[in-house]
């Protein structure tokens, strides 16, 4: 089951440059929340602060409080432990190219010490089914490499891989931006179903996608969160003029 995310007074820095200013958000469990905004507004930075991937950049710094479920992200959990509970899917599908489909999905489990062959088999199948990929690859799980699939399939493979470690939260950073409309549609369908078990935060450039997929939407601009509300409100009658300007295409 998914858990809620609470962000309080989050500030993020790259060296001396401040990328996020005082962000406060409450993400509801088992809902999909979309983050929109023009390029460079900080939405990707924000999402990477949620699973501490921001730290992998040299000279980066974070201040503030993030709680995922009951535990505190920045005080008291190791980054690797956290990342097992918060899965991430990236913009460009990045399956491990020299591993088979099976090994790709099992990677999270195996590399974290989980070895029971039968259990791993079950989890791999379950994850591939959850990401609507199983039927397409069930005959070549061990034979084909992760990189031999089409773009849309690769991304679903990455989703399966993220789901295999049974996270509570799934972060998606523009997951469909490199995909064709049909693959995009399949993944959006997927997000709809995944909501029941996971909490999903999705960063997207595509406003129509945010509108289709998410119950809540947050609008970021220049590192600040301008508005956070139900998606219908943001897209039919936003409270802030800047949100309206962005959503109607007057800038961005």
């Amino acid at each position: 089951m998914g858990v809620g995310i609470t962000v309080e007074r989050l500030n993020a820095f790259y060296g001396k440059t401040q990328a996020l200013f005082d962000i406060n958000i409450n993400v509801l469990a088992n809902h999909a929340t979309a983050l929109i905004g023009p390029s460079g507004c900080g939405k990707s930075t924000f999402i990477r602060c949620l699973n501490r991937m921001h730290e992998t950049i040299p000279e980066s710094r974070v201040e503030g409080n993030v709680r995922i479920g009951e535990f505190n992200v920045y005080n008291g959990t190791s980054a690797t432990e956290l990342r097992r509970r918060v899965g991430m899917v990236f913009q460009k599908p990045n399956p491990f190219p020299t591993m088979s489909i099976y090994d790709n999905v099992a990677a999270g489990l195996k590399l974290n010490g989980f070895r029971n062959r039968k259990k791993v088999d079950e989890v791999v199948e379950k994850s591939l089914r959850s990401s609507a990929l199983f039927e397409e690859v069930k005959d070549s799980l061990h034979k084909k490499s992760g990189a031999s699939l089409s773009g849309g399939q690769q991304q679903r493979l990455c989703i399966a891989r993220a789901l295999a470690v049974q996270p509570e939260v799934l972060l998606m950073d523009e997951p469909c931006s490199a995909l064709d409309p049909i693959s995009t549609g399949k993944i959006e369908e997927l997000i709809f179903q995944l909501k029941e078990q996971y909490t999903i935060v999705i960063v997207t450039h595509n406003m129509q996608q945010a509108a289709r997929v998410a119950e809540f939407t947050g609008f970021f601009l220049l590192g600040k969160m301008i508005e956070f509300d139900k998606t219908e409100k943001v897209f039919t009658n936003p409270s802030d003029k800047r949100t309206e300007d962005y959503v109607t295409g007057r800038f961005g």
């Binding site: 129509q208 897209f235 802030d240 959503v247 109607t248 295409g249 800038f251």
Partner: protein
């Protein structure tokens, strides 16, 4: 982001609607003048120009549909287009009512003139003002103007009710003038309908400007953030 083509289309939509509004307003004025001055010619003009109003309705619907399909408008732009399609329908009905009035007047002119104790002319002026103000609120994008029209509707309703009572009494007391009285009564009813349509148009303008649904008298006309008007859509000149 500039979205030139989108701006052009929205501007075109706005202009088309305004032109149609002008035609509808003119039709009502002509029909009313035809009544007060017993002018056959004006009534005929109303009938002739009816087809133009209908053609405009089709054009506007088509353009709005096109923009919706190809431009994915959101927020205020989306509300604008929805409002335009509704106002469109109301304006076409206004045109129909003008035709009804004109036809009634043409009947009336055949009959001998009779002095009736109702001031249809005053009612016509009020209704005409409502239509004009509703269209103004659209042009300016001002919710207060639209709100004012909603309030005038009560006045017109009262006028119609009074006219009914008076004319029914006339028909009872002067049965020889029943036909003229009936004609006047029907014109009054048509005018009240026009007022209703003007009210609808105002409600649609409020929806567009504030995002508030005030139809059927639901809720005050004050949007979130106390925005009471929006700038008229994209009037940057784009050449032709």
């Amino acid at each position: 982001m500039v979205r030139t083509r989108f701006q052009q289309q929205m501007e075109e939509l706005r202009e088309k609607l305004l032109r149609m509004g002008g035609m509808a307003e003119l039709a009502v004025d002509r029909a009313c003048q035809g009544y007060t001055e017993r002018d056959l010619h004006r009534c005929q003009l109303v009938l002739e120009n009816e087809s133009l109003i209908n053609a405009a309705e089709r054009e506007i619907d088509e353009l709005a549909f096109d923009i919706l399909a190809t431009q994915q408008p959101a927020a205020v732009d989306l509300r604008f287009i929805l409002a335009v399609t509704k106002i469109n329908a109301d304006l076409e009905r206004v045109g129909d009512q003008a035709v009804n009035i004109a036809e009634r007047v043409m009947d009336m002119i055949e009959l001998p003139s009779v002095d009736l104790p109702v001031d249809i002319a005053r009612m016509a002026t009020a209704v005409s003002a409502m239509v004009r103000r509703a269209l103004e609120s659209f042009v300016e994008g001002k919710a207060e103007l639209a709100q004012a029209v909603l309030e005038m509707d009560h006045v017109v309703d009262r006028m119609r009710d009074e006219a009914f009572i008076t004319l029914v009494r006339t028909m009872n007391e002067q049965p020889q003038n029943t036909q003229q009285a009936l004609d006047a009564l029907l014109v009054a009813r048509n005018l009240e309908r026009v007022a209703d349509h003007a009210t609808n148009i105002s409600e649609d303008v409020i929806f567009w400007v504030l995002g508030a649904d005030v139809r059927h008298h639901a809720g005050a006309a004050n949007g979130p953030n106390n925005m009471t008007s929006v700038p008229a859509p994209r009037t940057e000149s784009t050449g032709t």
